[in-house]
Symmetry: C2
Subunit: 249 residues, 2 copies
């Protein structure tokens, strides 16, 4: 096992950080690593906003559903899908690019680009001994986050990334069975084996929670997921995305 | 600079591979690394299909726009956004999860999850001395790719990942200026400095192409982008995504 694979396999989310900011050099390395990721046809359709302003961090922590580790992170990055610069390029080059920018295809490209960059950033941070936690919670309040950070048309915040010196130890969570996530040549549409794999995984997660909570909790993954998915969340997302000029057609 | 950061910064896409398949052990390590990535609220909303069947690889190469390195890769992975298993979980748990599964929010979660996993897979492969290339081209023919791989409702292919032993040397491409991609506290909406950064980058890319092609080519990034974005591509994407039961509301 090489050091990169070791870093990857040791990942666990960290939600408590030391009161110690990242240095500008650390921030630069993390961002440069983000930028080194693959990008669809060289489009580079993302931006990263690093939040240092204490009031803004506090506000973002609230908007993300009172996640204090947003405020008390060593640095808080917001990853944005960003086709705004391509809108500007259209102007610079006198080319009408609006049809492309408003397409579902380019929205997907921007979300994928931003995510590949973010995962590079995460691994770079973790390889330096820092801890990370993705913050989807900023999508609870898209309008406010977008306004707070001054994000223009054809761009939108996707998720935050809290980074800092870990002040807690957490466990690596067991993932879905390999055979369930990875299939060869064709998707497994055999319902029996498919559901058996999920039942097996339920035993794994149940044992994991049982051990971690001293027997207080032993819920299965499928019950967790069913509870989480019962009520649709962030129901205004489609309207918001389209209002930003993305995924309209 | 540690080995993980070194791996990250050395990335360049490889489009020519030795005729040498990946071992099952390599494939397993790559997938396990993919699975170790963060996942929104533990939802694990993606699947990976590894294509070994020679006829299918050939067909996928055609469907991706005759990209021969899809066929002649050491292994070809297809990363899928996948909420199909959550549909099955809804059945198992007797819970109506359809509203969640059809939401734009959960579509974004699935695309982000799949992308984080793919970037882990890419870095794991690169750290082992393998080369990679993301293949967005499979989105040229979504219906056929989906049918060929038997991908069910609430799931869809997003991109391929060709992996193999490199049979070419390529350069690291210069990225957008750090200051353009990374901003502090607020998005840079000062049009003058914003466009100056793009002009600077045009000089960088122009010099890069000039050097690489012995003076035959010296196009700027903004002209490349304007040309690429002039005509919308993959215009049926929104209909396709919605037909799969995703991003409908």
């Amino acid at each position: 096992m090489n050091p990169t694979i070791e870093t990857i396999l040791q990942h666990r989310s960290i939600r408590k950080f030391e009161d110690r900011p990242l240095s500008d050099e650390q921030i630069r390395t993390i961002v440069e690593c983000a930028q080194a990721a693959s990008t669809s046809s060289f489009i580079q359709a993302y931006s990263i906003i690093g939040v240092k302003d204490k009031e803004k961090k506090k506000k973002l922590a609230e908007l993300a559903g009172n996640q204090s580790y947003v405020e008390h992170s060593g640095h808080f990055f917001v990853f944005c899908a960003d086709l705004h610069r391509h809108e500007q390029i259209g102007e610079m080059e006198g080319t009408d690019v609006s049809g492309s920018l408003e397409s579902m295809e380019k929205f997907m490209v921007a979300v994928i680009d931003a995510s590949l960059a973010a995962q590079n950033a995460s691994l770079a941070a973790e390889s330096m001994g820092l801890g990370i936690c993705y913050i989807g919670g900023i999508r609870n309040n898209m309008e406010q986050v977008t306004e707070l950070l001054g994000i223009p048309s054809h761009a939108m915040p996707l998720f935050g990334l809290a980074v800092g010196y870990p002040a807690q130890q957490t466990d690596v969570k067991p993932r879905l069975p390999f055979e369930h996530v990875y299939q060869e040549d064709t998707y497994n549409t055999d319902e029996t084996s498919y559901k058996e794999q999920l039942e097996d995984y339920n035993k794994t997660t149940s044992a994991y929670y049982h051990a971690r909570t001293g027997g207080k909790r032993a819920d299965t993954w499928s019950s967790q997921m069913a509870n989480m998915l019962r009520e649709p969340k962030r129901t205004g997302m489609k309207e918001f995305v389209e209002k930003q000029g993305l995924a309209k057609k």
